[in-house]
Chain length 149, copies 2
Amino acid sequence: MLFSKAGEYGLQVVLHLAAGQHDGFVTVRELADRCDIPFHFLSKICGRLAQAGILHSSKGPAGGVCLARPATGITLLEVVQAIDGLDGFDRCVLGLEPCDDGLPCPMHDHWHRLKEGVLEMLSGRNLGELADDLLSGNTTLNKEKTPAG
Amino acid sequence: MLFSKAGEYGLQVVLHLAAGQHDGFVTVRELADRCDIPFHFLSKICGRLAQAGILHSSKGPAGGVCLARPATGITLLEVVQAIDGLDGFDRCVLGLEPCDDGLPCPMHDHWHRLKEGVLEMLSGRNLGELADDLLSGNTTLNKEKTPAG
DNA sequence: CCAATAATAGACTAAAGAGTCCGAAATCTG
DNA sequence: CAGATTTCGGACTCTTTAGTCTATTATTGG
């Protein structure tokens, strides 16, 4: 609805890393397993996040990825921007070409307010604060499948 | 971002019909031309809208489509539901499977409020009111391409 | 240096979304 | 009834997104 699958996965992983309190690198394989994300697909996503300066990465044994900066200095908006881009936020909700404050479509104003709300959701709190919510048990990233049977 | 292309087109057409003050049927061809939508694609969309009881349709010469009910009795939400469905509104914004008030993801609450806002945007006003905005010139559906050259 | 490990890059396949085409079936006009 | 018009339905192509596979490069440990 709001993000591509890659975007969803990227957000999950970044939150996982922020809440994980890992010292060094975590392998993409482990992230993929823990978050139930196709490994090769996640590799690409982490590549983009590394290129955007959100993750650090290291090859070889004891390598992997980790947050490139303190979690308190990273917002979800950066992550979304690195993966999905922010173009969607500039487009008319009806797909009309000339739709701005000058020539607004019937939903322009209302949608504009909602978009602001989304941007605020993505940039208002940093990864550290969200990680705190996770660690305190107020929220969760669990993606457990109900055990077979 | 929020709707599929088919959904966007459907909303455009329904708004166009509501604001058009047509007496009888309008051909899908004419709608496609006016709204700059691929004709065959729009045919399918109108088919769905007709099946959902939002449009009436008639074959043959002097045939076409028209709103099945007074515009004041139709909401955008119905249109979206008929074309895209409402499943997207039930899904977690991060794509997590168990994500509800009991086991919320870090964005659950915030996203829930925003979704309510979207639903309110789609159901809060009816087609008639939106058509009034269009007719009074406060809003527009214009999709003019800048003239070649 | 050698072997194992892990990210990186790119080609490839699969599935979904978007758009096209054609052959009905229905309906109006003459 | 004949022919033109228009919706309806399905099959089809094209593009994008999602996901897989393979080879390469860098790093670590022995």
